[in-house]
């Protein structure tokens, strides 16, 4: 029987510092054994437990899309013991992963609909996975309009800047990038995500909203989505909790009877409404 606690070995192919505060680092990982790579299939919104033996494990959303073959990408915020070790690890080093875990975004529902993606801060990682997936030539015709609103505190804290620049040029994607405070060089939008959403005012007709960001952003964005008349069951968000096992055994990440690791991390607002406010 397969032991779900044993990590799959991977190698750090490339490491990039994403932001000017040097707190966000992206690791590009390749499978050590080809077989593991073949067996690894996931959807945007799923996550993995990354581990450095001797330091520990922590959960991270997958930032790459299933359409980008051969490697996995994770963007890591330096915060504690494991994430600090993940910031120090050198290219070429070995790393363990367990996954893919969790449910992922309900891509099937998006067929023939508009998709509104709202992201804030470094929670943009799994949203990047979703956007890259939807923009893939095979998938793009399956959905109608795509609107992306992405905000960071400062221009230097925006993730995946090169990619954002190419997305800006696309005509089949309406990308709005905003920052809380601009700087001398910033020519884009300045404003908080909820306010920018109000301004952009995408139609809720035939539209699914996917929102991911810090709790404070989510708190103020939900009412704006309500005002735009998005039904509860067409708003999806991805939650984060302290996790250990990632497979619904260790008991840590429950909200009511649901486990964020196994029943989530993606929940609709309709589902969250029914749960105790334990998050």
């Amino acid at each position: 029987m397969k032991n779900p606690y044993l990590p799959i070995p991977m190698r750090v192919k490339k490491a990039t510092i994403e932001t000017t505060d040097r707190m966000l680092r992206t690791l590009e990982l390749s499978f050590l054994n080809e077989e593991d790579g073949k067996n690894f299939s996931f959807v945007p919104g799923q996550f993995c437990e990354l581990s450095i033996l001797g330091k520990g494990e922590a959960p991270f959303g997958i930032a790459s899309s299933p359409t980008e073959n051969g490697s996995l990408r994770f963007t890591i915020n330096k915060a504690g013991l494991v994430t600090t070790a993940l910031h120090q690890i050198e290219e070429g080093s070995e790393i363990g992963i367990r996954g893919p875990l969790g449910n992922g975004y309900p891509i099937e529902l998006f067929k023939g609909k508009n998709v509104l993606v709202i992201g804030g801060g470094f929670a943009f990682t799994t949203l990047r996975s979703l956007i890259v997936y939807l923009l893939h030539p095979e998938n793009r015709p399956k959905v109608k309009g795509i609107t992306v609103i992405y905000g960071a505190r400062m221009p230097g804290l925006l993730l995946y800047k090169e990619e954002l620049a190419t997305w800006q040029k696309r005509r089949d994607l309406n990308l709005v990038v905003t920052v809380d405070w601009g700087d001398m060089d910033w020519k884009g939008k300045v404003g908080l995500v909820p306010n920018v959403l109000e301004e952009v005012a995408p139609s809720s007709k035939d539209t699914y909203a996917v929102i991911c960001g810090p709790p404070i952003m989510i708190k103020f964005t939900f009412p704006k989505l309500m005002a735009l008349r998005f039904p509860y069951d067409r708003i999806f968000t991805s939650l984060e909790r302290r996790m250990k096992c990632g497979i619904g055994k260790c008991g840590r990440c429950n909200i009511g009877h649901l486990y964020v690791c196994k029943d989530g991390p993606v929940f609709s607002y309709a589902e969250l409404e029914k749960l105790p406010k334990d998050y």
Binding site: M1, K2, N3, P4, Y5, L6, P7, P9, S51, L53, G54, K55, G56, E57, A79, G80, T83, E94, G96, P215, E240, R241, R242, K244, C245, I247, G248, K249, C250, G251, R252, N254, I255, G256, H257, K262, P276, K277, D278, Y279
Partner: protein, 344 residues
């Protein structure tokens, strides 16, 4: 199949078990403190304690358990899986509440999607010999939690202490392996009468009823009740109830070692600890005793039933018996019902 084991043959019977199996049974560490341990000599087994402090879950889900080892040789780090359970095991002398709890844990650890191999392997390789509970304590309420002091479910063999002998039932295929055991003789018709008497006496002790039936529905309406503001005041968050609970199964995973060699270990954890849900950012979804006590009780009587159609409590009463400030889970249950006590 109904059999009988004379007390004078008891040690020889245990010796036989030790030769074929890894035997685990209650052992008295110091006076009044009893735990399940691996037995090397029959005389170590001590059944005088009404129910060992540490439940039998320890044998399937140990307090600390190595999940994997790793070693670095040159540039290559290799993960070394832990050893398999080599010998078949026998758990002897667990009371029906503990055995019922093992089935409860099995629901969590053996899932459709993911199976906890560490638990499953130990479970598969263990024959369970239950022991009838002749003397339930004042803190016991198994009969309210869907069990009873002589519940056979989950046991492969079942022992009842008749005084000068044990009444022995072989209940499953694993149990039938003992059919040819030289020390097990045919039961007397008199034994059955005695068993009935013992059962009735024990049932009387736990004959009261704590209203656990329907508690899931009642708690559905109480998620934000003022009840939680009060109930947590009776808890100092020492977490002993969760560690000694036979159905509590939360664990933490930590790495021990350095970059050269070490191990990944899981340890029992408790939802009553503030650190349990504290995130690195400083945010804690369960910031006070109110949320944590609610989590403990709701998990047992509301969340768990939603997932598995049963409460995560077997009524063993350990959380009541060993609570340093006498928090009584039965009172909390009563509070959710119409039999609400005046004060908590």
């Amino acid at each position: 199949m109904k059999l009988r084991l004379e007390k004078k043959d008891f040690r020889s019977f245990l010796q036989g078990l030790i030769e074929t199996y890894d035997l685990f049974a209650p052992v008295q560490l110091v006076e009044g403190v009893s735990v399940f341990r691996k037995i090397d000599r029959p005389e170590e087994v001590d059944l005088t304690h009404p129910n060992p402090q540490k439940p039998a879950k320890d044998l399937f889900f140990p307090q600390s358990e190595v999940m994997l080892r790793y070693e670095k040789a040159g540039e290559q780090t290799s993960v070394i899986p832990v050893d398999e359970v080599k010998r078949e095991r026998v758990l002897f002398g667990a009371r029906p509440c503990d055995i019922e709890a093992i089935s409860t844990l099995e629901k969590v650890f053996v899932g459709k999607e993911y199976t906890d191999v560490y638990f499953l392997e130990k479970r598969k390789k263990t024959t369970i010999i239950g022991l009838g509970c002749n003397h339930p304590l004042s803190t016991c309420f198994c009969s309210s939690a869907g069990g009873d002091p002589f519940l056979r479910a989950g046991s492969d063999l079942f022992f009842i202490d008749l005084g000068e002998a044990y009444f022995v039932e072989l209940l499953t295929e694993k149990g039938m392996a003992f059919q040819k055991n030289p020390f097990l003789k045919e039961a007397n018709p008199k034994d059955l009468v005695l068993v009935k008497e013992l059962e009735e006496k024990a049932f009387e002790k736990v004959g009261f009823s704590i209203p656990i039936g329907g508690i899931e529905k009642r708690l559905d309406l109480m998620a934000e009740s003022a009840f939680w503001d009060r109930v947590h005041e009776g808890c100092i968050g020492c977490r002993i109830c969760t560690y000694l609970c036979p159905t509590c199964h939360c664990f933490d995973i930590v790495d021990e070692g350095d970059s050269q060699r070490g191990q990944r270990v899981r340890n029992w954890d408790s939802c009553l600890s503030p650190l349990y849900s504290l995130e690195t950012s400083g945010h804690n979804p369960r910031p006070t005793g109110r949320e944590r006590t609610r989590q403990r009780l709701m998990h047992k009587f509301n969340y768990f039933p939603k997932s598995f159609n049963q409460v995560a409590c077997v009524g063993c009463g350990r959380c009541i018996l060993y609570c340093p400030i006498h928090f009584d889970i039965r009172k909390a249950i009563l509070w959710t019902s119409s039999k609400r006590p005046k004060a908590f």
